[in-house]
Symmetry: C2
Subunit: 130 residues, 2 copies
């Protein structure tokens, strides 16, 4: 059976893709793919997504150079989520952190803390203010 037949896309034709750094196990980001971006990801072994906000097909790192090389593509029991193992070039987060998940809730649940170092500022990455 073709693996695409196991996948369930939303009514908008999208599926969420969790991106994990294979070497460290670090979860880097979550973004949405449509079928075309998934096919392009498998074909080129570079992650491609669909931006819901910009309504645009994009390759991760096309502006920043922070590309992701695909090592494995898994899908869950319901076929409605992808888990992609990658080798990350530079920072995954557009705010300059390795991972987009750089903040955690503090114990009392009313505040949060930054849990990692910023590698670059958005300005350094994109040459403009964030």
């Amino acid at each position: 059976m073709n693996f695409y037949d196991k996948l369930k896309f939303t009514s908008d034709g999208l599926i969420p893709a969790i991106v994990q750094e294979q070497s460290t196990g670090r979860v880097l980001m979550m973004a949405w793919m449509n079928r075309a971006s998934l096919e392009k990801t498998l074909e080129t072994r570079k992650t491609h997504f669909w931006s819901r906000k910009r309504q645009k097909f994009w390759m991760k790192g096309e502006e920043s150079g922070h590309t992701q090389t695909v090592k494995d593509v898994a899908f869950d029991c319901d076929g409605d989520t992808l888990l992609i193992q990658v080798e990350q070039n530079g920072a995954a987060c557009h705010e300059g952190y390795k991972s987009c998940f750089f903040r955690s809730v503090e114990g009392d649940c009313s505040d949060f803390k930054v849990t990692e170092a910023q590698l670059k500022t958005a300005e350094e990455i994109y040459g403009k203010k964030s």
Copy 2:
């Protein structure tokens, strides 16, 4: 600032939550939370979700006993995805696998393979056929 103010829920009041096993880095599952289930998760330190299919608030493991003890709750740069570190009791997947992501795409992209052992059958977990 209260961390809830940093979160963006969908128009349905939901936010996707990636669940990762803290000790191994293994991504176990992805499910949806509403604000009530997130509050309950933080209060009890056991994961609670919102089932879109069943339109129901549920605690992970309430039937199977396969609960998740919460170790950390992080959120991403856009505030629209959660990453929850847990200690997993038993299998996270309702199909009896440790992780819901137990299948990966094969090299030629037309097929897939099962990448891990099934710990229990659904029948063993729930006492009924899956």
